[in-house]
Each structure stands twice: as structure tokens, then as C-alpha cells.
Amino acid sequence: MKEQKTAHEILQDPDFKKLSGQKNSISIVLTIIELIMYFGFVSLIAFNKPFLAQKFSEGGAITVGIPMAIGVIMLSWVLTGIYVRWANTKYDALVKRVKDKIGG
């Protein structure tokens, strides 16, 4: 094992700062997108029912509200996918770098 660094020293390391900064931004941005998406949908139901009740296509029965609801479900999954993909590639590489540095 290399020299022992204190937690305080590691936290000052530019690599750690980059890692925690990036992780915080991506987590918060994705959380906000999810909130806007879901509560936007709920607001439409509460304030603009006629919009959701429109027919999606001429002559069809499907209303705009149906693909929208399914869309919220699918996009939620896509967002978790984006996060996991980012974390598996970028984040884990940064973690490895910090770990190598402290010999942990």
C-alpha cells in the first residue's frame, strides 16, 4: 500500500472533485427531468383534460393521453438507462482513478 491519505486530502484531490461534481450534476438534472415529466403529466390531467382527450390520429380511437402515459413509463426507464450507462463507463473510470491514487 502506498502512503495513507486522509479523507480530507482525498476530497481535495481534483479527480475526486471532478467525480463528485459530475455525479451530483447528472443525478440532480435527471431527477429534475423526471419530476417535470411526471408532474407535467399530472398537471395536464388536472388542468387540460381536453388536450389529453384529443384523438391522436384522424379516424382512430387512440387519444393523445394514451401514448403520453405510456411515454412517461418508457422515458422513466430510458432515463435510468442513461444514468446507468454513464455510471458504468465514465463514473466507474473516475472511481478507479481515485482508488488507484490512494492505493485502496
Binding site: A7, K23, I66, M74, T80, Y83, A87, N88, G104
Partner: protein, 573 residues
Amino acid sequence: MHETTIGQVHSLSIIFFILFVLGTLGITYWAAKRTRTTKEFYAAGRSITGFQNGLALAGDYMSAASFLGIAGLVATSGYDGLIYSVGWLVGWPIVTFLIAEPLRNLGKYTFADVVAFRLNQRPIRAAAASGSLITVLFYLIAQMVGAGTLIKLMFGLPYESALVTVGILMIAYVLFGGMLATTWVQIIKAVLLLGGATVLVIMTLYQFGFSYGELFKQAVTTYGDKFLEPGGLVTNPVDAISLGLALMFGTAGLPHILMRFYTVPDAKEARKSVFYATGFIGYFYILTVTIGFGAAILVGQKLIKSIDAGGNMAAPLLAEVLGGSAFLGFLAAVAFATILAVVAGLTLAGASALSHDLYVGVIRRGVANEKEEVKVAKTATIALGILAILLGIVFKGQNVAFMVGLAFAVACSANFPALVMSIMWKKFTTAGAVASIYTGLSLATILILFSPTVWVDIIHKDAKTAVMTEVKQIEENAKSRIAELEALKAMDTTKVVAVDTEMLLIKEKTDAEVKEAKSKMPEAIFPLKNPAIISMLAAFLVGIIFSLLRPEKSAEQKFEEEKLRSYVGIGAE
């Protein structure tokens, strides 16, 4: 209308069910040899892969109530059922972005480990265990009552026998096989449920030439345009937002879900497992909604409602129409398996709050050996299992739907704020955490008691019914009087003016009477059906205020260590 055999004992469903029980008991026997230490009992030795845990999380979360209930809601109220199903998924991304990895890196077995990481152990453990136990107990009661009712509907087995069967099996899984057996029960259940629902959807879509356009066209032909439009589910926007908050952040505060993240080896697997779980659960809700629409068309609302007014039998009835009694039997057995997997997960989470947090953390002040802790955890499992059976019997025939709402409200108000602040906020203190948890817990519970769901619909049920009957009576009287006058008008045209004045008077009088009758309607003390918007915000606020008022040097100093471990995983167990 076709004949149904629902409610009769099916030899096929019994065979399927016995196969499931034998299989899972076999797994429990295998797991028992690997369930000796605390790490094995609470966390399956951290041997579960991300994919397996994804399935198990889905199996832990997708309850029979949501499968049968949402399919029923869609079949009976159309689009509103779809709205409802969306809410059950949106908490999962939040778990992914904010909770899964820090939770895995910082804790050992329960989410209280994380909250207590740099704070004063005993008060935190006591508070967090209270939050966990209340969440688990209400969720468990709702599941048990639902289980008894559903099994009675499907198999014709008496309510009490159904509860005892469910209770004994769940105790057996958890007691002997711990988390390892529970995990595999949940995985098998998830595969059966997803597989069964997929087959049912394929059979449904086959009837419509695999075209959703055609399916919806027929739905509109039978039930009108309104069926695919948002209806009466969301009337009060504040209430809708409050329910949304509870579902979204409550998912991130459910002890039995959070506990599952300790079964994987590291944070990377934890994050992968939420991705898989979100995919499975989202897919499941899309299937369930399709099944609901299919049942409305192919079975018909009339028959669905005649068997169960709430529509709970929509999916089994559809299975019977499309796949005969063999498929119905299979699906009934799957519903039974579904119930078992969920209650086993809940029992294990409750038992660990009792043993790991309350007994070891509070009573023994953190000092207890492995053997002792496992023994206490096993005793707690038996006690909780028996309590669940008894509570299920006590609440037989009661309206327990609000209890799941309460569990989510407590989870998002008592558990989630403390967990998030302990991970993210350096100045968070013991006083802040304890105040936040108890505020969220008591506010959520009290406000639900005072809400329209409990105060009006349950506590003042008789008064409400009396008012409704009176209003109906007044309106009917007026209606028949007006009909008489109309007839008179048609017979004698000279009296048109006099009759019209008379009718106007009657209408005015009726309106006044209805208004007076309605004034006797019991009113909820708290206007919202779900308290999350108040109780969760209050929990955050109180946590912040108390932390600022009572700073804690040691907690602040330990934050750097926590941060390092939370992000990088150094020192994680």
C-alpha cells in the same frame, strides 16, 4: 355472457400452486444451509447479481393488488386506470439517481445504517426503526387482507384459512431461508407473473390482429369516447400532486425495497439492479393496462363487476375466456405466489428493523454477537408473521385501501427525508434526523386519519351514507312530482303557466333541501386524501431547522469520511 368457474376449486390451480410451494420450499431447504450469519440472513451473503436483484426487486414490488387492481381499474374506468399505473413507476428513477449507490456503499443491512452513519446511534436507530415498522405493518395488513379476499374469490378457500396458509409459508421462507430464500421466491414469482401476463397479452392482442389501434377502436365502440379520456380520478390538483409525491418519494423510502440493495456485492451491481427492476416493472404495468382494456372488451364490464364490484377479477376472467380453465388455474396460482413473495419481503424487512436496529442498535447499544442477532431476527420473524395473520383477521372486511397510501405517505415523510439529508447534507445532525423522522411519521399518520379517506369514508361512514340516502330521497320525490306536473301540462294546455311556476318552485325548494341535507355531511378535518405534500415538506423543514439549531461537531467531522465512502465505496461492506 359466458359462464365462469371463478371461485370454484380448480384441480389445475391446486396442482400449479403445490408445484410452486414444493419448489420454493426446496429452495428454502437449500438456502437454510447458507443462512447462518447475519450477512447471510439479512443480505443473502451479498451473493445476488444485479440482474437477479432486478428481478427480485420487481418481485418484491409488483403486488397482487397492483396486478389485479390496476387491470380491474382499467377495465372499469378506462384511461383513469392508466393514469394510476404511471404513478407506481415514477419512483424508481429517483431510487436510481439519488439512493441506490450511496445506500449500498454506506449501509450494511437496513437504511437506518445509513442515517446513523455519523450520528448518535441509539436515538437514530429507534426513530428509523419506528418509521420502518409503521411502513411495513400498514403495507403488510393491506397485503394480508387483500390476500384473504383474493384467495377466497379465486379458490373459494375461507378467508382465515387463506391467511394462515400465507402466514405459515412466509414464516417458513424467511425463518429458514432468510434473504436468500426470499430473493429466489421473489425471482420465481417475478418470472411467473411477467411470463403469465405476457402470454395473456399476446392472446389478447391476437384477438385484435395484434393492433392496439383495433383494440382501442373496439373499446370506444363498446364504451364510448369517454373511456379513453381522463375522467373523475383527478379532480383536485393539489391532491393529485400530493399523491404523486407520495408514490414517487415513498418508493425511495420503502424498507423492504431499500434492504434489497444490500444483497448485491457492490454499488455498481446495485445501480444495474434498479435499471433492470425499472424495466421489468414498467413493462409489467404496460401489460397490466393492456389486460385491463382487453378484459373490458372480451369479458365485458357487466360480468367483471358482477363477480367483484372493484373489478379485481378482470385479469383472471380474461385468462379464462382466452385460455380456458387451465390458464385461469395457472394465473390464480401466480397471484398466490405474488402475494407470498411480497409478504415475505415485508416480513424480512420488519424483522431486521426489530433485530438489527431496535434490539442490537438500541437495547444492546450495538454490541451483540452474530449468533444472538440471528436468533433475535428469527424470533422477530415468527412474531411478525403471527401478528400479520392476526391483524389480517382483525381487519377482515374492512376498507384497507388507505393503508397502502399510508405506508407510502410514511415512507416518503419519515424515511426518505432523513435518508436523503444524511447522505447529502454535511450539517445534518442527530436532533435534526430524530425530529424529522417523528414529524414525518406522526404528521402523515394523523393527517390520514383526518383525511376524507378515513375521517369521512370510514369513521363517519354511517353519517355519510345517511346524507347520501336523504339527498337521493329528496331528488326522487321532486322528480316524481315534476313528472306528474309534466303529465298535467300535456293534458291541459290552459294550465301551462301555472304549472311552470309550480315546477320552478319545486326545483327551488328541492335545491334548498338538498343543500340543507348536504350541510349535515361529515366533513374531513384535513381536506387532502394524501398528506405527503404537507408531511414530507414538514419533515424536511423540521430536519433542517433542528440541525441548524443544534449543530453537531462530530457529525460534521465525519462527513468527509462518509462522502468518500458514498462516492467511491472505500470501506463499504
